[in-house]
Symmetry: C2
Subunit: 325 residues, 2 copies
DNA sequence: AGAGTAATGCTTAAACTGAGCATAAAGCAA
DNA sequence: TTGCTTTATGCTCAGTTTAAGCATTACTCT
């Protein structure tokens, strides 16, 4: 434990999210200079020991430089340091002889795609390309979710030892809610980890050729970036329930239905319209601006704006998805 | 941002918590070899790059070695990397010429004090010695909480610029809930940060002499360890609401009232007895063992044990403090 | 036996949730 | 203009959950 720290590097990665056209999106830097394959990667960089006073300040200025993005809400997600879950080529063009180890501190940041300049190598991608089973807005259940459920079911029954089967069953139950229909939208990371362990999604992909993914066409990401993305989505889904971060993703003015669509995009499920609107205005989260949006196709919708005072009034102002108990 | 990482070290720290005699406690290694002053420090060590496959495994084995403790639930808390909030002497006996920077990955771990062997330099301390304003179980409001509130109130009114006053007011409102009586037990870190910024509690203490603490006798800790402790307490308070981690702190069998006392100790507040018990057994969290505890002074209390099956049945099994909305 | 002390059981009003019906205000076509 | 379609918005209702407190039970101690 008390080695001298040689061969250790600290990196920062960022999952920078936005919601555009009812799709949650993430900034990637998929240029092939970054790795062997053309897999998408999150913005990633090695931390300079002295450039910045705090990690978060370092992140902000580095992202600003990279992508000319203005980050809104930012939060640290997790620090990953597993030895066996990184692609070498991403980090050092020549994998060093002495197997340098990288600790990466991952951040979640919110912004608006429309407002971004879109720097050089910056691409926005739909996050459900990487985690398709997380989008449950379409048919019930969606094709790729059903595939995931089936595959996990098989994985649970595979082992010989009964104890092992039960262990798997319990974890699957927890993450996917197998027999009962309780799908907890927040357990994104738990589901991803399970799919990963079950060999259903690939993370590292040294060959750049075979992407085992059990039938649903999910895209891998470089290194352990898909895990970071899963962490980010799970965290954000939890966060919107008790903190008004959703407004970081909205334009200045919006209709309640647009707000609902944005929440649904993140949560990956559909909400009851009337109840959603009741929750929002009984929560004091928004105020009328006076304007209307007549482009609805029906009765024009009133425009609202985030009501900042709610921060002083309520302890945990958020949007509250159904079935929270 | 793309420096070469020289001068960067990664450390692990652990806030190892237990509840003993209705007091939340934490493992410290207060021996003076660790620093100049006799301030308590959390277990802390520099990470050896290759010893362990994952950070958490590294933590477990290192703690095991240090303190002969068996850790139960463990979770990563946060990675701290602020430049100006560490004591030098704690990290390297001789502060290096080139100002080595330390990134420390902090963990929360739960255990039972009674079961610990108590290794060499290991001391258990009441956590409310370090964060006295967080304990609201006594009179309402407690002396040190009132002192904190007063001091924060003064701090809010201090600045000349009105904008600054309002900024402070908003943060204070958020963390302490000033005029209304909403004290959110989870916002431990937010309160600590505010007190720190207001100069009411000291973190680093180079001289080892002056501990400004605005009247309430709170103890500092080495380096930024008190911040880590605050993070740990806040996280744990949140966690018990939706995850049955409280049982990691309980003996095998217990009465509902003992369970309540343990929850109260962590949450820092008193609960309604009948409602607490209703919540617990309607939540399916426990089952009768058949035994009774006759040492109550009144009617003997039935003994209960944690009911593991709840993990399969409920999505977010926890104890739920009042006023959660 | 009677008083004291805690555990345990139960009631009630208020608040909240999930679901759906009903109405309002637009555009569009006959 | 009227009537139809579409979406926004208003409102009701039954089932749950919560906060608070009263009532009863089962022990010990005197």
């Amino acid at each position: 434990m008390t080695g001298d720290g040689v061969g250790l590097r600290v990196g920062l990665s960022a999952a920078i999210l936005a919601v555009t056209d009812e799709q949650p999106r993430v900034v990637t830097v998929g240029r092939s200079e970054w790795g062997r394959s053309d897999k998408a990667a999150l913005p990633f960089g090695i931390l300079d020991a002295f450039a910045h006073r705090t990690l978060e300040l370092g992140l902000r200025s580095w992202v600003q430089e990279l992508a000319e993005l203005v980050l809104g809400y930012t939060e640290q997600l997790y620090t990953f340091g597993d030895r066996d879950r990184v692609d070498r080529p991403l980090l050092t063009a020549a994998p060093s002889e002495d197997e340098e180890r990288v600790i990466s501190v991952a951040y979640l940041a919110l912004t608006r795609e429309a407002e971004s300049e879109g720097g050089d190598g910056v691409d926005w991608r739909d996050i459900y390309r990487f985690l398709p089973w997380e989008d449950g807005r379409g048919e019930q259940p969606s094709r790729s979710r059903q595939l995931a459920l089936d595959a996990i079911g098989r994985w649970c029954r595979k082992p010989r030892a009964r104890a092992e089967r039960e262990r798997r069953e319990e974890r699957a139950q927890f993450a996917f809610g197998l027999d009962r229909e309780v799908w907890d939208s927040e357990k994104v990371l738990e589901r991803y980890e399970l799919l990963f362990e079950a060999g259903l999604v690939a993370e590292s992909d040294p060959d750049g050729s075979s992407w085992p993914d059990g039938g649903f066409s999910s895209r891998p990401m470089a290194a352990d970036h898909r895990r970071i993305l899963a962490t980010a989505l799970g965290r954000l889904r939890a966060k919107i329930k008790y903190r008004p971060v959703i407004f970081e993703l909205m334009p200045e003015q919006f209709t309640l239905f647009e707000l609902q669509r944005t929440v649904e995009a993140l949560a990956g499920l559909r909400l009851h319209k009337q109840n959603f609107r009741r929750l929002i205005d009984r929560g004091g989260l928004v105020e009328l601006t006076g304007g209307v949006n007549a482009q609805t196709g029906g009765r024009p919708a009133k425009l609202y704006a985030f009501r900042r005072d709610v921060l002083r009034e309520r302890r945990a102002p958020g949007v509250g998805l159904p079935g929270q108990r």
